[in-house]
């Protein structure tokens, strides 16, 4: 019987009512009295020296409040990077300054060079066109391998070269890995590209800066996944505003997918300019601007090698990746190809020796940072592709080869520094075989062939690491932030609750699922609980939402705070019931004395807390409000097995996805419907990456796919009905809910399934194709077939 409330119920998303009826409050809906608008003049040259910026004409244009250039920001901080990676030689990464407006040089198409604040957006834009910009064009650095050659043009003149860092992991294993390869019975190697992507959330970025002269307080409204992080980074490192004088509000946010984690120049600009102009300053990104200013994702070029013994056991894995950082280090960019990627290279397999080398490279392109999955899709893709290739080379069943090498005993310490607490990889694979109807595949393939189509089946596994933690460990790894989460639970006198969480919801449905958890713990209706997030003025310091961390870390903080509430409420109840606290039980919203019929309702206890007439004032304070900070002891490790069936039109190379099945293990599930939705969205994005999305630059550093005319987003008719299951559940052992996180799984698990399926289809037609780089657009597949 499906539950109708609490943990495990598919409660309808309460936030959808306002989103679907146009009642959402997005940043662009915020308009302040006397607000001015900023238009950024962005470089249309990828690399060049700024000779002069003549703003005289612009400054005199109608409605112009003020024109800013880089010189206005001398003495102001630069955009900080939140993670410092130490390389394999013990050196810290090269970290260039990242100015709010370009200083001296432009380094990518889209970099803001000047900004016009005016009474209307049109006037700001008109004036920006009147700015005369003289830039001496320099050769653009686009290809990562060229960027590392001796004598290559430098993106940053003050750095030694274009190498941000050369990271080795685990460096001590390097020689042992080399030896294992020498001893291997079989080695499979593969070179591949993990294609650069543009996140494209439905809502483009927006920032509104406001300044109150009377109180010297600044407020920034922004499209962010983590307002407290922005407050800390911008306040402390860029503008020098103490946190008690700075409020950051991220109201309803229309999708983030990672790209709204980071602190951007436009946020700092609007906050700064609001004070400088003494007027609120608003910026709303156009879609065209988003393509050249939102941090991009992925962009890895990798060589991976897998060593096997004579019995097909994996004995060692070795990878070499070039990871594109773009022109500047975005907030978490350095962590993505390293700690979020290298630590996942064991995947679901007991490969005993692993060595990962990553060279992070500066280029004259938009900065690259975390995008749904962040490092884990890159790890999964290469691993699951090379395992598939090995199976084909060895002539063994790809599923059997995987099963043979599965990790089966938990906890399991991988050779890449992490310890998986739980998992059941055979369990999800069993489920997948059932859902995917693999035994019917041969008949389906025959049917496709009758219609002149090739059919392929691709399978893969994945492992994810969510809720990166604990803070003291990530600090050692170079994080310049903690990775705990917080919650304040405020119970009102009449029994309703407000949970103020440091997590942020921008599509994930926290307002619904978080309420379900508290409802379950107390035994009251979900509608008695309100979830508040997104405003530093009314939530405790939190780290926000990314990396599938919210229920595992934010949910845990909320559980801890609610436990404190319940403990205190029990004390009050024991007083009211004149019974020993140890005998008080909470069930279905009432406190009772064990073994008796004496009870007091939740609402009576909460009322007593705030109207403490009959109350143990000598023992406990009035009121019912508690805060908890939760710092996990480990990551959580969701896992799963995915299958994709494709048809390929041999005449055109067009791939269509015919079936897609996902068997996930997310541990315990709070709201199955929301989880299914998260998996659907993730798969759609993964298929988008695999088949459609291609963020491409030309040799001059011009973005070729700079609009939806050339950048293909997945649409409903590109996708089949998904078959999704999350009944395999091995609960996390170290958080109170036993939850693991589900936000990124779909995007992590799906690309290799698609590519494996296409390779299977092409090989079924006798084509000697072992790999095709994503996106598998028709022209690429056709070219691969006609080699």
């Amino acid at each position: 019987m499906p539950k109708d409330g609490g943990i495990g119920a598919s409660s309808k998303r309460r936030e959808d009512i306002r989103f679907l009826t146009g009642e959402g409050n997005y940043t662009d809906d915020i308009n302040l009295r006397g607000q001015a608008y900023v238009h950024f003049l962005r470089s249309d040259i990828a690399h060049g020296t700024i000779k002069s910026i003549d703003t005289a004409a612009a400054a005199g244009m109608p409605g112009v409040v003020r024109v800013f250039t880089g010189t206005d920001f001398e003495g102001v901080g630069t955009i900080p990077c939140g993670w410092q990676v130490t390389d394999r030689h013990g050196e810290v990464m090269q970290e260039p300054a990242h100015p709010i407006l370009a200083q001296g040089k432009v380094r990518h198409v889209g970099e803001p060079v000047a900004a016009v604040v005016a009474d209307s957006p049109e006037q700001a834009r008109d004036a920006a066109e009147a700015i005369v910009l003289d830039i001496d064009e320099l050769p653009a650095v686009v290809d990562m391998k060229d960027a590392l050659k001796d004598g290559a043009t430098k993106v940053h003149d003050d750095l030694n070269n274009n190498l941000c860092y050369d990271w080795g992991f685990v460096e001590e294993n390097k020689d042992a890995v080399t030896k294992a390869f020498e001893d291997a019975a079989h080695v499979t190697s593969l070179e591949l590209v993990n294609n650069r992507l543009v996140a494209n959330p439905m809502e483009p970025r927006v920032a509104v800066g406001d300044y109150a002269r009377g109180t010297d307080e600044s407020t920034l409204y922004t499209t962010s996944q983590n307002p407290h992080v922005i407050r800390l980074l911008m306040g402390a490192f860029v503008l020098g505003i103490p946190e008690h004088k700075l409020r950051v509000v991220a109201p309803d946010v229309g999708g983030g997918f990672g790209t709204k984690i980071f602190h951007y120049q436009e946020e700092a600009f609007c906050t700064f300019a609001a004070k400088a102009c003494n007027r609120p300053v608003k910026w709303t990104s156009s879609r065209s601007e988003a393509f050249i200013s939102d941090a991009h994702g992925r962009d890895h070029v990798t060589k991976i090698e897998l060593a096997l013994d004579a019995d097909n056991n994996f004995t060692a894995l070795r990878t070499e990746t070039h990871a594109n950082m773009g022109a500047y280090l975005s907030t978490f960019a350095p962590s993505v190809p390293t700690w979020l990627h290298g630590t996942l290279m064991a995947g679901n397999y007991k490969t005993p020796l692993i060595y990962v080398n990553v060279k992070a490279v500066f280029t004259n392109t938009v900065p690259v940072d975390a995008y749904r999955g962040a490092g884990r899709p890159e790890a999964t893709f290469q691993l699951e592709r090379v395992v598939d290739k090995a199976a084909r080379e060895l002539g063994v069943d790809p599923i059997a080869l995987r099963r043979q090498n599965f990790i089966t005993e938990f906890p399991y310490a991988t050779p890449v520094a992490v310890e998986y607490d739980t998992g059941d990889y055979h369990g999800t694979m069993d489920k997948l075989e059932e859902m995917g109807d693999f035994s019917g595949f041969a008949a389906r393939r025959a049917e496709s062939e009758k219609n002149g189509k090739l059919r392929g089946l691709g399978v893969n596994c994945y492992i994810e690491a969510c809720g990166i933690a604990p803070s003291n460990l990530v600090g050692q790894l170079g994080a310049r932030a903690g990775l705990y989460e917080s919650a304040t639970v405020r119970v009102n006198a009449t029994g309703g609750l407000v949970v103020m969480t440091g997590s942020h919801s921008h599509g994930q449905g926290h307002e619904t699922s978080f309420a379900q958890v508290v409802a379950e713990m107390i035994g009251i209706d979900e509608n008695m609980i309100e979830i508040v997030h997104g405003d530093t003025a009314n939530t405790p310091m939190g780290m926000g939402t990314y990396g599938s961390r919210s229920i595992a870390v934010g949910g845990s903080a909320m559980v801890r705070a609610t436990e404190k509430i319940i403990n205190k409420a029990k004390k009050i109840a024991s007083h009211l019931l004149e019974a020993s606290e140890a005998d008080i039980e909470l069930k279905d919203g009432a406190f009772s004395v064990a073994g008796t019929d004496k009870s007091v309702a939740w609402g009576d206890v909460t009322l007593a807390a705030y109207v403490p007439h009959n109350y143990p004032l000598e023992d406990i304070e009035p009121g019912l409000e508690e805060t908890a900070f939760y710092d996990p002891s480990n990551f959580t490790y969701p896992s799963g097995a995915y299958a994709c069936e494709v048809e390929v039109d041999p005449d055109t190379g067009k791939v269509t996805i015919e079936r897609f099945a996902a068997a996930d293990d997310f541990g315990n599930i709070i709201n199955p419907m929301i989880v299914t939705g998260q998996v659907h969205g993730g798969i759609a994005q993964g298929i988008g990456q695999a088949l459609l999305e291609n963020c491409a630059y030309d040799d001059n550093g011009q973005l070729l796919s700079a609009s939806y005319m050339d950048y293909a987003m997945p649409r409903a008719d590109d996708l089949p009905m998904f078959s999704v299951d999350h009944s395999s559940q091995t609960p996390c052992t170290h958080n109170p809910l036993g939850v693991k996180g589900c936000g990124e799984a779909g995007a992590i698990g799906s690309p290799p399934a698609v590519v494996n399926a296409v390779v299977d289809a092409l090989q079924s037609a006798g084509k000697d194709v072992t790999h095709v780089d994503m996106p598998l657009s028709p022209d690429r597949v056709w070219a691969a077939m006609n080699g």
Binding site: S288, T652, L691, N694, S705, Y711, M713, P778
Partner: protein
């Protein structure tokens, strides 16, 4: 966008007059191409002369010679719904863009724009259509003059397009994955006096007729008839979505499919 004025005349003559008043004026059809161009500030007309309110330019009717006549301001959605006498043409219109685009975009706007990847140019050229303007009638063979280039003079308005109805026809559109315009689109039309094959999306010179295929199909209207024929990819569009050679290959594939599907 820069500022501009909009006028909405109700007669062709008034529209022509509005357009001749100033050289900085431009006709506005459905705005599906022009408005995005203005938003990007890539054009700055002083005045837009909307033809949407001109009744004489609306709708689908049947000419005395049996041809299908479409008013220059008729939307793609209307053609899709009402050009049943020419099923391949109605089908072509029904696959242009999305519902929003079809409910506003017009045949006159599409042909005037002559995007190298647009669908109507292939239909008009393969059908040997006649493009009627406020001053003259232009045969499709003379009308298309390369990417975004046509025989239209400044201020000239497409008032009607007349399509002779073929015995059989079909349009095969292989979509570019992002824009869903034609990466290659082939319109094949079989008339009593021969077959015409027009290809869009492929060539650097815009829509063109594949005369070798026309000759082969005129003597044998079957997909096999074009076996062995091929186009060179050298002058074809080469971009993110496909090389010239790939497009040349698709021309053959889509032509065969159009022949096989022609009704």
């Amino acid at each position: 966008m820069y500022n501009f004025d909009v006028v909405r005349p109700s007669r062709i003559a008034d529209a022509v007059k509005e357009l001749s008043d100033s050289t900085e004026s431009q006709p506005l059809g459905g705005g599906q191409t022009l408005i995005p161009t203005l938003k990007q500030r890539l054009a700055s007309p002083e005045k837009l002369v909307s033809v949407a309110g001109i009744d004489e330019m609306q709708g689908v009717c049947k000419g005395d010679d049996g041809s299908v006549c479409i008013g220059g301001a008729t939307t793609h959605a209307t053609v899709a719904a009402e050009a049943g006498n020419y099923p391949a043409l109605a089908a072509t219109a029904s696959h242009i863009g999305d519902p929003a685009v079809r409910n506003r975009g017009t045949i006159g706007g599409s042909l005037a724009n002559n995007d190298p990847s647009a669908c109507y140019p292939a239909a008009a050229l393969a059908s040997g259509a006649t493009i009627k303007t406020n001053t003259r009638e232009i045969a499709a063979d003379d009308y298309f003059q390369g990417m975004f280039t046509t025989a239209l003079d400044e201020g000239e308005i497409i008032t009607e397009v007349r399509f002779p109805v073929p015995e059989k026809a079909n349009y095969q559109k292989f979509v570019q994955p992002a824009s869903r315009f034609a990466l290659v689109g082939v319109f094949v039309a079989k008339y009593a006096d021969g077959v015409r094959v027009a290809i869009t999306g492929a060539s650097n010179d815009g829509v063109f007729r594949w005369t070798e295929a026309e000759a082969a199909l005129s003597s044998n209207f079957s997909a096999d008839a074009i076996d062995g024929l091929s186009l060179s990819g050298d002058d074809m569009i080469s971009d993110l979505h496909g090389t010239g050679d790939y497009r040349a290959h698709l021309c053959g594939v889509m032509t065969k499919r159009a022949v096989a599907a022609a009704v």
